[in-house]
Structure formats: C-alpha cells, structure tokens
C-alpha cells in the first residue's frame, strides 16, 4: 500500500509543474537569513514602520540574523547570483519554502508555515502580465472550477505599485461554501526599482513583478482544512487523507 504525500508537498509539486511549463525555475535560499536580504535589500530600511508589519525571530548572539519572514529574500539572492554569473534577464523563478512569524499559534496562526513566491524580470513586464500569470496559475490549480481574480491597491515596500489579489471560485462545481465569495489570496506588485538596484540589476533597463502567497492558506481553501496547526501536526489522521 502506498503512503501519503503531505498536502503542502503535493501543492508545491503541482505549482512547480504549472510554473515549469510557464518557464519558471524553482529557486531556494536559506531559512536563517541576514537582515540585509530579509529587509534592507527589499527596500525595508532599519527603523521603518514597515518592519513592524512582520514579527521577526532573531537569532541570539548572531548579529542581524533572523528566521526569514518571507520567501522574498530569494528574489535578491537569485538575481544577484545570476548577474554575478553574467546571466542577464529575463528571469522567471518561483520560490516555494518555509517562512516564520513570531506569533503565538492558534487555529488560524502558525509560527512556521509555507509560502510561494514568484518573480519575473525582463525588459518589458507589466501588471497586466502579473494578472495573467496569477490567473493562469490559479485556474490550473483549481482544475474543475473557474477562478476569477481582482486586484486592489495595497502597499509593500518591495513593490510599487503594490496590489492585494482576491480570488473567487465560480460555476456549478465550485464548493458551495466558497462559491462566488472573494477571498484575499496574496500580495503582489511591480518590483520596486530599489530592489532591482540592490540585486545589481539596472532598473532603467529592466522591470519586474513579484507575488507571494501562503501555501497553508491555499491548502486550507483547496481541501477545506479547518485548522492550520494540522500542517505541522505530523498526525496521520490528517496526512493519510491526502
């Protein structure tokens, strides 16, 4: 008898398959990260109120080292390494991986969870292409239902303009509880020129977009999971349903 894959692994496998077809490389980076990559390089300067937006775990006795609060540091690491290797854009990557928030845990909050990041850099990249990319991904992921998305204005220091992306499942085959309801899915936007600059990419020549969404949340929606803590429970009553 076969064993069971963790739902997050299945989602990552599926996301990677969809994005691979669209030309995206799976990139990764360290979980213990420097404040430079986690914040400064992403246009979140020291003492900026935006640093309060994320409750950060600091490593004791190691100056300016944190557990990464998002997968976005890999944007900068990837672009930097490509530029150093003499490989110019276009770049397309996804970064699925674990991230951390210094929070007390309950049914909807976890201290460790998973995110997937996407990044596209090219001479011509637009918000309209971001919309297409997200639409294509979500429609492939929610196979039998139709997915609609909408953008709302938002703010992230590392994107300008920034948007919040809502999604809704429409059509007869959508689960009744979710059908037609707008759900907040991810943050996204056009990469801030300072981020490109910090990664060694010339913002006067290149533009990009980036998006990041919680995989735990996506799994919760996809399979109607009622408690986020199940993800790290290692409980086969949960895992063996997948």
């Amino acid at each position: 008898m076969r064993g069971h894959i963790h739902p997050i692994s299945s989602l990552i496998r599926e996301a990677n398959r969809i994005f691979f077809e669209m030309g995206f490389t799976f990139a990764e980076g360290p979980l213990v990260e420097s404040e430079w990559y986690n914040f400064d390089a992403l246009n979140v300067p020291k003492d900026h109120p935006a640093r309060d937006m994320q409750d950060t775990f600091f490593i004791k006795g190691e100056k300016e080292m944190v557990l990464r609060t998002h997968t976005s540091p890999v944007q900068v690491r990837y672009m930097e390494s490509q530029m150093k290797a003499g490989i110019l854009p276009p770049y397309r990557i996804i970064v699925p991986g674990k991230i951390f928030r210094n929070e007390a845990t309950d049914m909807t909050h976890e201290a460790e969870f998973f995110q997937i990041e996407g990044l596209v850099v090219d001479t011509e990249v637009s918000l309209a292409q971001l919309k297409w990319t997200i639409d294509t991904f979500l429609n492939s992921l929610f196979k039998n239902v139709s997915v609609e998305t909408r953008f709302r204005p938002s703010f992230f220091p590392f994107t300008e303009p920034s948007v919040e992306v809502d999604m809704r499942l429409v059509g007869e085959s959508a689960p009744e509880k979710l059908r037609g309801k707008w759900i907040e899915m991810m943050g996204a936007g056009m990469i801030h020129p300072n981020v490109l600059k910090n990664a060694g990419v010339d913002p006067s020549k290149y533009r990009g977009f980036a998006f990041g969404m919680g995989l735990d949340r996506l799994a919760i929606l996809r399979w109607s999971i009622d408690d986020i803590r199940l993800m790290h429970s290692a409980d086969l009553r949960f895992i063996n349903q997948f």
Binding site: M1, G3, D47
Partner: protein, 599 residues
C-alpha cells in the same frame, strides 16, 4: 483609522453616498476597510499614505478624486497665515530632530465642556471628550493630521530677562530624567528621547511627539494657553513611543513622517477653533522652522505608465487622473512633471505616478496579458529533484510524509525573542521530532487501520553553523536520518519526474476524542462473503462505528471463521466501555438472529 461619514460630509456640498459605497470606493481605489459600523469606517491606511491620510481631510480628498465629487474647500490649499507674530513667547530648538516648532499664545480662554457638535465629532470616532480646548486640538489632528498640544501658560515660569515672557524649549532628555505625563504615569527618559521644556525653568513639560506633561496640563482653572504645533523626526518618535510603550495618536502620525509644512495649517485651524469654542483672543505665534521642506518634482511619461501597468491610457487620461487627484503638473515634451503637494511625501518615482493613475481608474480595468514564451528552458533544482525522488521512493513503500517543527528544546542556535518562550532552539536533527510523531501515531493506528506506522520527513536542520537538508525515516525498526544527497539521486534530467499528486477532494475533520477498539469473530459457511457480514455489523452498530474491517480468517472443515475489528469513536465525547458494550451487544444480537455463530 476611524473615519466618520458625517465628518467627511463637512468637506462636501453634495450629500455623500452611504457608508457602504464609500467603503467600496476606498477598497478598490485606495485602502482596505476593516469594518463599517454606524456610518464609521475603519480604514486601514497603508504605511505609504500615513503622511497624508491619517485624517478626515485626506480621506475626503481621496473620495473626491475617486467619486468625482468636488470638495467645498481644501484647508491645505488655502493660506494658513501665522499672524500676528508675538514676542511674548519664544521657541528654542536645541536638537535637529525637531524640524519645526510653532507656539501659539491664546489668552483668556474659558475651559469647559465642548459644544455638542465637537463632543459628538470626537466621540463618534471613539475618542473621549475632555474639554473644549483639548477636544479642539484632537479635532484638528483627526481633521487634517497635525498632532497638537495645549499647555497651561499659567503653570510656566515667567521671565522677561532674556526677551520673551514665556519660552518653550526642545532638547534631548537627560538619562534618567523623569516626567509625569497626562496619563498620570511617571516616565523615565533616556538621552535618545526629546523633551519639550519650559525653557525658563528647564523643566520638562512634554515627551516630544508622544505625550504632554501633567504639570502644564489644561485644567478648569486655565485661562492662558500655549499651543504646540510641531514636527519631530519619525524614526526617533517611533523609538521613543516603543521604548516607553506609549503609542499615541500623535506618535503614530509622526512615525509615519508628516510634512513640517502641515504645522502652520494645524496651528491656524486650532487657534481659530479654540477661540470659537472656548473664547479668548489670539495673542500671536512664534515659528521656528530651520530648514524648509524640499520636494522634488516627479517625471513620468504616458508610455512609462502604460508599460508599468500594461494599460493603454492616452495622454488625456493621465492628465485627467492627475487633475482629479489634485496633483499639479506641467508637460515637458512627452513627460508629465508632477509637483507633489506638501502632504504627499509618498510620490517620488515614476512608479508612484503609475500607481496613482492605475488605482484611480481601477486595477479592474487592467486586462490580463500573456507572458511571452521564455527563451530558455527552466533549470531543474537539484535539491527539489532529490526531495521529490526521495518522497516518491518512500511513499511507494508505504511511508507517509510529515512535517515536524524546526523548534526544539536543545540545539546549537537559539531564538532570542520567541514570543511563547517554549522550544527556542533550532533543531540539529529530525530524529526527535520523528520519534514523537511515531509514538503519537502508534496510538491512533487502529483508527486508521494501519498495521504499522511508517513516516518520513524532508526538512532542514542547523548543525555546525550550517543549514542541512535531511531525510529522516521512522518505522518499527527505529529512526534514522541522512543528508538528502543530490549525488545519489542524480539530476541528469532536464525535467522533473512525473510523480503523482494527491487525489484528495476534501478534508474530513476527525474527532479529537479517544476511540475504542473491539474485535468480533464468528463461524460461517464458506458461501457467505465477509462483506455481507460487515454490512450487518454496520447497520446495527449505530453512528459511533468509525471503522470496521476483516482482519483475520481461517478454515476448519466446511466452516470459516472471520474476525472483524471495529473502532468506535464519538465527535463530541469520550466513549466509555459501557457505550462500546452496548453497541457490541446489538451487533451480536443481529448476527445471531441471522444465524451466525459468534465465537
């Protein structure tokens, strides 16, 4: 921030739409709305708009642009004359973290309850009405965003020796300096903080940008007041508020950085309002503004805006959007040169202008546009390839994948500030987590119908100052781990292997209560299929039977013995033996009645 529809209406002749359409307009063109209650909108002002939108005027401005309803007047586009000047009060700024300080001297006020409209206005947005003078300062702050404070001049030292009668100072606090604030608590300051002082006596009368001091607070007996309309460095204010655990409406505005130009508008408005609601006469103003705010024009072309948004706006569309947003511009060749108004400190790069145009027209107007094909094949990530390979290898052998926590009670690296305090180390091994998981799952294996618990985890550990990606396995033979080797699982391929996805449709919540296992065995003739017996068991077991299966059989002559394992569990209570016995009796009875011989 709480925004009142009634307050907003003060800015418009035309009646505003209801709160819900106002909320929608803001949601799709500016800010998220946390809640709407009794015509009060809780608006989530983003960190880039704290400069101009933490007040009703800012939101009115947004709504005017979005809904194309003209404003009656915009206080920040009118002159705010600080006249007359007075020599009776002087300002002494001794630290550049204070970028501007205006003192306004008003004599002969009568402190008392606020008029109804003012009391209601502040109470509607969740503030406590204090008295007419204090309410006036709060009203102007929530109206146009400038924090303000009033001191009782009668509590300040008078000394005309060095010029003016009253002197207001701004200096660094001395380490250990104590200040009794308006909240009746004494704060111990550090030399990283700024204080407002009665410069004649050098006594602290306020924590700069955060809170006023008790000794010079407004009381019923106050007749002469000195109003503060000042600007303080955002980072410093944020640090002071954080260090003192005293975040106030004033500090939360300063920490977002507001324009020092705003001080004049705030002072003019509050001085006039105080005279209106508390009487008295304005003696005059003293303004120290060492370095005037410099704002740079921002250039953006229509082509650039369209390239960022993926839109097809015409020149006229861009011009119209900027006009609606009250962003003055000139045209230089094909570029719009935007002169941001004094409060819009967020507009600095062409992308900011693209955002203004894009959000005003609505991001729903943006049509999805395909990415062009990628000229090169994506790379195969060796770690992910190896992980996928290992995953499939173990799943094929009946192992299930778990994730256990990276936090442990021992290790080499430790979290300095873990909020819950427990298991602060980063794990050096997958072994401990897997052992726990194995033991936990062993207790529920009957419920799942598992003969054996077999788990694996692919996860990170921290050992020898490095991160390692490990593969850990646990089963009845014990627990072991190894580095996830990309070598062994060689990545020669240009593609990932085609491995199956989860086929699950929907998660079924499971009971958290303990379950009870019972076996039942019976003799039957060889023609009877176990499925038929299971059917009888299931119809007579009631709804507490969560699992039933045949686990044993043997033949003796013409007869067969079948043994079935039954699992009982409730969703809302712990079952007792009595509960299970009752069910087993019903089952046995039904089986006997059908003619089976229970062993």
């Amino acid at each position: 921030m709480k925004i009142s529809r009634e307050w907003l209406q003060r800015y418009f002749e035309k009646p505003l739409p209801d709160a819900t359409p106002l909320a929608d307009a803001l949601t799709f063109h500016a800010f998220e709305i946390d809640s709407i209650e009794n015509d009060i909108l809780d608006v989530k002002i983003t960190a880039n708009r704290g400069h101009d939108c933490l007040n009703h005027r800012g939101i009115a401005k947004e709504l005017s642009a979005i809904l194309e309803i003209p404003m009656k007047g915009d206080p920040l586009r009118q002159e705010a004359a600080l006249t007359p000047k007075t020599e009776e009060v002087s300002v002494h700024i001794q630290d550049s973290l204070c970028t501007r300080y205006i003192a306004g001297y008003v004599r002969g006020v009568k402190v008392g309850p606020s008029p109804d409209w003012l009391r209601k206005a502040v109470e509607n947005i969740g503030q406590r009405s204090i008295n007419n003078v204090v309410d006036a300062t709060n009203f102007v702050m929530f109206d146009i965003g400038q924090p303000l404070h009033a001191f009782d001049a009668g509590q300040l030292q008078k000394n005309t020796e060095n010029g003016s009668l009253y002197k207001i100072g701004v200096r660094r606090a001395r380490a250990g300096e104590k200040l009794l604030a308006l909240d009746d608590r004494e704060y111990t300051l550090t030399d990283a903080m700024l204080v407002i002082t009665d410069h004649n006596s050098d006594a602290g009368i306020g924590i700069a940008g955060v809170k006023g001091g008790k000794p010079a607070g407004i009381s019923e007996a106050t007749t002469d007041i000195i109003i503060e309309s000042a600007n303080f460095d955002g980072i410093t204010t944020r640090k002071i508020a954080a260090a003192l655990k005293l975040r106030t409406d004033a500090s939360s505005r300063y920490e977002q950085v507001i324009s020092p130009e705003l001080c004049a508008y705030g002072m003019r408005a509050v001085a006039d309002l105080i005279v209106q609601v508390a009487g008295g006469e304005i003696v005059g103003f003293a303004d120290v503004y060492p370095q005037k705010q410099q704002q740079k024009a921002v250039r953006a072309t229509t082509a650039e805006i369209n390239a960022i948004l993926g839109s097809e706006y015409a020149e006229a569309d861009v011009a119209s959007a900027l006009t609606r947003l009250d962003l003055e511009f000139t045209k230089q060749a094909d570029a719009f040169v935007v002169e941001p108004p004094l409060e819009r400190l967020d507009l600095t790069i062409p992308e900011d202008i693209a955002e203004e145009v894009g959000r005003l027209y609505g991001y729903d107007k943006i049509e999805a546009t395909p990415l062009p094909p990628m000229p090169s094949q994506p790379e195969v990530n060796p770690n992910f390839y190896a992980a996928e390979h290992a995953r499939e290898e173990y799943i094929a052998q009946g192992y299930s994948e778990v994730f256990t926590s990276v936090f442990a009670d021992k290790g080499e690296r430790v979290i300095a500030n873990k909020v819950d305090g427990v298991r602060p180390f980063l794990r050096t091994t997958l072994v401990d987590g897997l052992k726990d998981a194995y033991e936990k799952n062993r207790l529920t294996k009957d419920l799942l119908g598992l003969a054996e618990v077999k788990l694996f985890e692919i996860g990170t550990i921290w050992k020898g100052e490095k991160e390692h990606l490990m593969l850990g396995i646990v089963d009845k033979d014990g627990v072991r781990e190894e580095a996830l080797s990309t070598m062994q699982r060689g990545v020669a391929s240009m593609h990932y292997e085609n491995v199956p996805l989860s086929q699950a449709e929907r998660f079924q919540p499971f009971s958290k209560y303990p379950f009870i296992v019972r076996d039942i065995a019976l003799w039957t003739s060889a023609e009877v299929k176990p499925e038929e017996i299971l059917k009888i068991i299931r119809t007579n077991a009631g709804d507490l039977l969560v699992r039933s299966e045949k686990f044993d059989e043997f033949k003796k002559g013409e007869k067969i013995s079948y043994a079935f394992r039954l699992v009982f569990q409730s969703f809302d209570t712990t079952l007792t033996d009595l509960d299970a016995n009752g069910r087993m009796e019903s089952i046995a009875k039904a089986l006997k009645a059908t003619g089976f011989e229970i062993r």
